[in-house]
Symmetry: C2
Subunit: 325 residues, 2 copies
Amino acid sequence: MTTPKLSSEFDLIARHFTRPAANAVLGVGDDAALIDVSNGMDLAVSTDTMVSGTHFFPDVDPENLGHKALAVNLSDMAAMGAMPHWAMLALTLPSVDHDWLAAFAKGFFDLAEEFDVSLVGGDTTRGPLALTVTIMGEVPAGAALKRTGAKVGNDIWVSGRIGDAALSVAHRRGKLKLDDADLQETIMRLYEPTPRVQLGQALRGMATSAIDISDGLLSDLGHVCRLSKVGAKVDLSAIPLSPIGAKYVGTPEGLNAVVAGGDDYELCFTANPNSRDSIEDLTNMLGVQITRIGQIHRGKGVSLMGTDGKPVPVDGGGFDHFSAA
Amino acid sequence: MTTPKLSSEFDLIARHFTRPAANAVLGVGDDAALIDVSNGMDLAVSTDTMVSGTHFFPDVDPENLGHKALAVNLSDMAAMGAMPHWAMLALTLPSVDHDWLAAFAKGFFDLAEEFDVSLVGGDTTRGPLALTVTIMGEVPAGAALKRTGAKVGNDIWVSGRIGDAALSVAHRRGKLKLDDADLQETIMRLYEPTPRVQLGQALRGMATSAIDISDGLLSDLGHVCRLSKVGAKVDLSAIPLSPIGAKYVGTPEGLNAVVAGGDDYELCFTANPNSRDSIEDLTNMLGVQITRIGQIHRGKGVSLMGTDGKPVPVDGGGFDHFSAA
């Protein structure tokens, strides 16, 4: 319609979002960006939207939000075994607040620089606060990690520790009560997840499937099972927890956060048991905890197993939510 | 947070948005899509967000919206002289309405098929109605049409007819009154713009700069002038109008719609005068009206010239809005 853009869009982009795009043919400022994808490489591309009130609390620190918006997309590149290079940012704002934008841009670009990612384009519009990042990267043709490759007998692995991000959300929603120190630490995991980009690339040729944990461990592993036409058993006692996670996993809300909470952006992947030593070596090489948590079986759906060898029921969303359709 | 996605996201995507992506290595359903960009080609990539109440009226016909969401992105490819191939759709919905989604998908895919574009990925989330499309295409390396290439002495050209889309918006906002037949016709131009994809490709090697008219003729041409470090004079009487546009251009609101309204998604481009015959030939070859409307000069900013040879003041946004910063 007649005023589709923020009236100061050009100033806004020039002031906050125009940085040299060293690795692009043409960056921000034209009708499209231009990118030269290397010979022998496939372009990997993924997009994620974050909406205020759905994906983040409206009072989020803008620097944290800038970090997270890029981090969740970097995590998609990690889950494909791809090298992230370029990003597009579509930002919808209720009004122009330059302090907010400067902080958001700092969070975004600090992480972008860490991973050599250039912002090559985007869009700014007026409306309820939301943002969509499209990330692009390269992966050697034929070498990407897909959700479809899990095989019966494969081990199931996860990186890092699971559940902290969801514990902070449960606290904010009044479902459990964390003390101040625990809240600070888990909130950092919620807003500043560490995308496992190096790990994803190291797993090419080793992992048979991979996914990043955004919706929840059982749910995301369920996607892999559905697409690979297999089932999975996860040992609850093997899931790597932080000291905070360990305090709460015995409660229904704590268990739910750990197995169904999501937002950790750790990798969950499958591999042949003969890769165990190579995978464990990665822990030292990359400085990231990698833990074997279960096995792929015939059948369908994901079962969470207790130490007594019996399935553990999970609250919230219901166990059916995690079963294959 | 714990429920970042629509709970039925997988059903929803499977039901409405999963079609074979013949031209992609990997389409919808994994952490990222995989694309093989041809040797010698640059990837052109652009993203546009449309927000309910800002870019379209909340009562928009969903099939029209699906068409328009892709059309405005195809138009960006046209303005680069690129061949569109792949799209990502990030859709934010207040609730799941399958009739609405089916109609939206029909509008989107009908246009996608017309241009051989595959939907290769995306995201669905809960929130205020909005959508972000990221379009990707190919352009021979070094041949893209940029905003930076306009030269003093170049002609300024536009495709199609200018102003109809904005007239329908002005009517909806009560700023002027169209009769029913005129309203129907101009609303079609608002919701079903024709992206000038073939024209954009035909202009490679001929146009010195190009942009699509989304914000308004003078404003968008102003971007070209600013980036090319030149000025422009546009002859008001040369701007191609529909019979409806011709009826209203004599009123302040009508003039504003024509020169500052936007939403036509026609191409505005510059070319050396020795290309005039070749450009006029394109009208017959491609069946699209192409009209010379002015010339590039030294200086900066865009002037709208009347038949008396004097600048014409423009209401709404103000003339300064179109001047180079």
